[in-house]
Structure formats: C-alpha cells, structure tokens
Amino acid sequence: MTIAVPAQIAERRSLKIDFTWPVLITFALLLCVLVILPVTWLVIYSLSSVDEVTKAREFTLAHFANLFTDPEFVNPLITTLVVAVSSSTACCVIAAPMGWLVARTDLPYTRAIRALVTASFVTPPFLGAIAWEILAAPNSGLLNQLYRFVTGAEQGEYLFNIYSLPGLIFVIACYTFPYIFVLIANALDRIPGDLEDASAILGGKTWTTAWKVTIPLALPALLAGVLIAFLQAMILFGSPAILALPAGFHTMTTKIWSLFQYPPKPELAAAASLPLLVVTVLLLRGQAMILGRKGYSIVGGKGADPRLIKLGWFVVPAMGFVAIVLMMPVFLPYFALFNAAFSPIATTLLTPLNFTLHNLHFTFFELSSTQVALKNTFILGSLAATLGTVLALVISYITAREAVTGHRFLGFLATAPIAIPGIVLGVGLFLSYTRPPFVLYGTLWILLIAYITIELPAAYQQLQSAFRAVHSELEDASRILGATRLRTLRDVTAPLLRTSVIATWCFIFVSVIRELSAAIMLFTSETKVVSVLIFDLKESGDLGAIAVLGLSMLLLTFTVVILMNRIPGFGGTRLRNT
C-alpha cells in the first residue's frame, strides 16, 4: 500500500492540470470588478462635471459644496439621521427584551415566535409600508376607522397618521427589529450556563444573575444589532418613498432617486451617495471594534445548557408583549393585504358579501407586466442565490484555509459591499455599466451583478464561520491522497457544509426577492422585477393589484424556504433567524 499510493499520485499529477490558481485569480478579479468598479465611478462622478463647451470631464468640488449648503439636501440628510437614530433605538427597546424572553426564560411557543420573527424579516419593508398605509392612513386606514367606530369620534379625527415622521420611524422599526432580535437571541443562546450557575452558587438571585451576568455578556451583540438596525434604517428606500413623500419630506435615499428623474443629475446623485457610504464604513468599523472584544463570552468552553428563568405569573404580560410586537410587522399587515386583495376597495372591510376575485383576475390575467416580473424575479433569485453561494463558498474556503497569499484582501473585498447601500450601489452600477466595455444596462445581468454584490458579505460571513467549524484534517487527507483543491472542496468539504450552504442559498434568494433600492435604479421595462412592479403600482395607487402581487411574493418566499429545508438529504435543520 505504502508504495502503491505515491505511484498513483505521480500518475494522476501527470494527467491532470490543477485548476486551483486560474480559479483563484478569476475569483479575485471578479470581486475587484464587482466592488471596485462601481465605487470608482461614483467617486469620479461626484468630483467632476461635464464642461458644456468642450464636453470634457473636469474636476470640481461644487457638488459637495451644494450638498452641504443647499437646504434641498441638508434637510433630507438631517431627516435621515433622525429616522435612523430613532428607529434603531425603538428596535433596541423592543427587540432586546424580546430576545431575552425567548432565549432565556421559560416563555412558551418560542419556536413559533422565532418563526414569526423570520416572517417579519422576509417581508419586504416596502410591502409592509404599503400595508401600513391601508391600516393607518389618517382617514381611510382600517385602524382609524375602527377607532372612530369604537369612540364615536368625528370624521377627520384619527389615532394614527402613518404619513408622518413618527409613522415612518415606526414602520421602519417594524422591519428592522429582527436584526437586533436575532443577534441578541443567538448571543444569549450561546452564553454557557456555568457562569450563571456560579452566580447562583455565590448567592445571586435569579434577577441579580440576569442583571449582573447575562445581560452584560449580551451587550456586544446588542450594540452590534443597534448598528445594523441604524444602517438598515438609513439605507432603506421603499418605506420613505411610500410614506415620506406624501407627507412632503425627503430622506437621502429618495432624494438620490429623485436626482435620476428627468433631467437626470448623476453627478449630484453620486455626490449625495457618498455620505451614506462614508457613514456606513465608519459605523461598521465601530461595530468591528465592539465585536472584537466579544471573546470573553465563550470562556466557559462547552458549557452546560443555559438556565431558563421561570417567569411565573409574569408569563402573561410577557406573552402579551410578544404578541403585540408581532402584530405590528406580521399579523396586522398581512391582514391588511389580504383584505385589500379580496375586497372591492382596499380600505373597505372584507365581508362574505363583498368578497371579490376581481383583483386576482386583473393581476394574473389582465396586467401584462405580472408574468414578466414574476419570471424575472424567479430567475434572478435562483441565479443570484446559486452563483452567490458558489462565490461565497470559494472565497470563504480560501480565507478560512489561508489557501493563497493575499487571502485577507479577498476576504476584505467580499465583505466590502456591506458598506455600500443598495441605492448607492445602484447608482454606481448604472454609471459603470451604461458605457463600454461592459454595456449591461437593460439586461438581467446588471441586476444579477447588483444582487450578488449586495448579498455577498452576508453569504461570505455565514459560510466562513461554517468552514471554521469543519476541521482541515479531512481536507488534508484528501489532498494527500492526490485530489486537487477543487476536487477536495467538491467531494469532502461541500457535503460537510450542506446545511450552511442551503441556509445561505435561501438567505440570498429571500433577500433578492425583497430588494428594491438597487433594482429601482437599474431596471428597464423588460427587466422589471416584482418589487419594482409593486412600487410602480403604488405610484398610481392600485392597491388591489399590489396586495395580490405582495401575497404571491410572500407565498413564493415561504414556499422556497420551506421546500429547501424539507427536501430529504438537503438540509433537514430549519433555517434559523438569519
């Protein structure tokens, strides 16, 4: 045996070419193009203008001067900061106690609660915003109608006005709180029971232990969650476009978008995009610094299961709190959409008498854009999920195994897009791919590139941590037996990572379906996706068709996620709240 094996290796080596290096170089180049190209064009445009006579591009700081002095831009900038700070604070106040209740107490139905949080995560925020219009528009909103019915208040009086700054903050918080919840719940899941036991042995009561041990250990995760919630609120396009514009104010994202209306001002749009980019980079640095200290939370090694705090009678208010929180992003909006889909008028309460299939028929048999949009969305979702997963898999393999020199740079490139808000990337890609050598505008490719770029960081981070969990000995064995890196990856590593790969695939698919801010900059009439179609319909107020499309979209999302997790041998474990 010992003689035969080297002989076999020698034989194989002579026959096979190792594709490792070409593949690695290709991927590195690909990443450079994906990330560096759009950002470069953004910077160039923001710092230049076209001379009207010579048609040459000339250096100027005028756009930035304009940006920081003209109230037309300063006001949206301030509004954006107010929205981001308030909604992330609100998220924190709600999601942190809820995460703690679910992970650390004997609260019942925690699986269902986690599933419902996942549902609010996969619900596109713009769809939620439209549903909240149906619920809480001051005069026609269902909740305000109920309020007037119950209290007998005059026509014109209302309880909620969704077309307002607080309304916008509320709706954004509804769909960003899952980020904080998940981070907190997962962090609390991981805190070993020993530390709490120690506290208890030393005489600490339940609440003392929670206050002095558990909560401090979860603090880094909380801060990280707040930062992500802040970023999400800052870069969201759909919700402000739907709720802020009718109320007469802009946020930065809607302003950038409006700069692309005729006559387009790409230079100003590029300049307006850069502050978002800078703030994002700074915040992520901050997050990295905070999370860099998290090491102490797992000192206990493989510890005992976390100790669940007994809630006693407190379970009633706790359950009530959780139920109310989940009403906001899930139950109430889904009800509103269902009502709008089957009632003749969106804000008329559905009864067996007025039930109609008109909207369903119109959306699927008359509205000619439906089919194209559904097809495009499905193609782009599956392609982006597949290619994105492969890309993330290869890069995380390279970085986790330190396979090539310069792997750190690859890792950096794969994470960098996290700092690029969707609408900014949209502007950058528009500037990059409407000119030679890559004229991709008008094709599905430009959207595919956008989606892959946007989702790469999350996919990469998920798979990288999965790789770290698989010991390299198994791969070494395969390499010693003569397999190339690629073959090892395919035959040994990939099967071990199956669960994570599926989770990543689902994550990208779902994220693509709910993406609007990049797509709104990049679509053409033939490459429209469902999210853009819904936004179009929103502008002409066709709520019935929106509700039908929105519900179909949710159905598609849930079906794919559930199927991928149920196919035998394809995963088995459920998709966690990621």
Binding site: S140, P264, T347, L367, S368, T524, S525, L537, L543
Partner: protein, 354 residues
Amino acid sequence: MRDIKITRRGVLKGATALTAVTVFAEPIRAQAPAAAAITPELIAAAKKEGKLSFYTAMDLAFANRIGKTFQDKYGIAVRVERSGAERVFTRIGQEYTSNIRAVDVANTADAAHCIVWTKNGWLEPYMPEEVAKHYDKAYYDPNGLYITTRILVSPIAYNTNLVKKEDAPKSFKDLLDPKWSGKLVKAHPSYSGTIMNATFQIARDIGWSYFEQLAKQKVMQVQSATDTPKKIQLGERAVMVDGAGYLVIRYKEEGAPLEIVYPEEGTPLAQGPSVLFKAAPNPNAGKLFQNWMHTREAQQFLVDWARQYSAHGQTVEKPSVRPLRAIKLMKEDPEGVYKSADDIKKRYSAIFKV
C-alpha cells in the same frame, strides 16, 4: 383665452400649438405619408412579429384592457408598460441613450414630449387611414409623427360623504380656504404629464403664488393623476386638487360617492398623443396597433369604457361625461411646457418640498 366656450374642435384647434411647432422644428418638411389602411399584409407581417410593447400613461386598468382587446383581436401579445407620462418619458430617454430599443408605441399625456422626440428624430411617420379621414387637423401631425389618442382634463373633485354639495369648492381659489387644510390630495408634475400641463396652465393663468399658498394647506402629495381619484374614493382625503377627471366619472358610475367640479378659473387640459418609434423592434405590430388604436372601434371603446375624450370625428359622446365644449378650459401650450418643464419641476419641488 379666446378659445373658451366655442366648439369642441375649435377649442383644441386653438389649444394645440403642436402643428406649428413641427413646422418650426423641421423646416424642410418631408412628404406627408400616404394614409395607410389595415391591410391583410400588415396584419400578416404584424402577426409574424407576434408581440409589441406599448409604453403609456393611461390608467392601469384601461391600458391593460386596451392591450388585451387588441391581443384578442389580432393574436398579438401587448406588453403594457404603464407609468406617469414624465416617467415614461424619462424611461424612453434613458433606454435610448443606453442604446436599448424596446419601445414600439408610446402614448403620453404631455404633448411636449412629442416635440423632444421629433427633434431627436426618433419618430416614424405613419398616417392611419381613419386619422386622415376623420380627425380634425388639430389632432395630428401632418407628417404622421404623432396622433392625439385621447384628450384629458384635470378638474377638482370631492367625496360626497365628506363634503356637502353646498360646501364644495367651486374654484381653485376656494381651495385656499383654511377649512380645506389637511383635506386635499394632489398629484405631482414630475410624474404625471396631465399634472405637468395643469401646473403650467395654473401657474400661467393664476400665478405661482397660488401654489405657494396651496402648499400651506398640508396637501397630501401623491404621484399619479390616476391616484388622486383613488384617494378621494377611499375617503383618505376629501378633495382632489387635480387628477384624471375620467377616473372620477368612472368610479362615480361604479357607485363611488364622488362628484366632479370644473373650476371657475377654467379646467386644465392635456392632449395624450401616441407615437410610433423609428427603431421599434416590432415595426409592423407597432403600425397595426397605432392604426387600430385610432380607429372608430378603439376610440369608441375609449369613450365608453375609459370615459375619455376622443378626437375621432365619428365617435358618439357618452351622455354621462360633460362634453368639452361645455367646459371652460384652460389653454394648452405644448411649446410652453416644452420650454419650461425643467423649471416647473424645480419650482414645484421647492414649493411643495418633494
């Protein structure tokens, strides 16, 4: 203002400066194209292409209905791309500058767009037979570059559950009364062509100060002229400042508690011309559609179903729709809109903050 209250034809003859503009834009006028009938050859060639894309600012339901009707008749699939006229204009511009030739036929609600497209040399001359025969010359370009498919008015309207008839506004100026604060909904000139023209005409006839005062009334700002009728139908706001009059009539006839008001100062007017693009990917299907859309059959459908005004001389008016000749209209001026559109968008967003 000399055009007010004369015949329907006369109104639009004076109201459109389009014909004059074309002469001005193309000093060397090409031979006017011969009137084309819907021939079996055209149908066969169109069927061979099998599909067509129609960019339009018509309201969503009607745009898809007219596409479906054509599809049922000729077996040619119509992809309807609906948005506000200003958005449609932006989209076509963006696509053409990126060398994307996707649009076959476009229908706008802002005649100024035809001036730009003509100057760019993007339009295909084509003269459907019935247009040459039955349309007044005010409604089409003699070179066959554009034809008025529909005529739109942008009146005031209100929800009768929320406003009593005697309290209803009678003029634009009435809407400045503090009692309407927080009760108004208005569409946007950067989105809608009808509203672009309405804004131009109101600013010209009443003055920009009108909008400055109106902006203090906590106006709900939506985008589409087809959305304001929906907002008052829902009862979300009591009064629409501007928007598609035809939708108000349609919803009213479906039982919605709506009433239309033709303001004392005059009702803004906008023509909705259609064009065929030179670089159309489906030129024959495009011709067939442009031809069919202006036949009496399609135009009567427009009058009966959509409650819009037709420029076809043989269409029969719908009794429930007040004829144009009985409405005091503002004067349309596409050339003026063409010259000041960018300025209007800028001033408007400075006043209304969005």
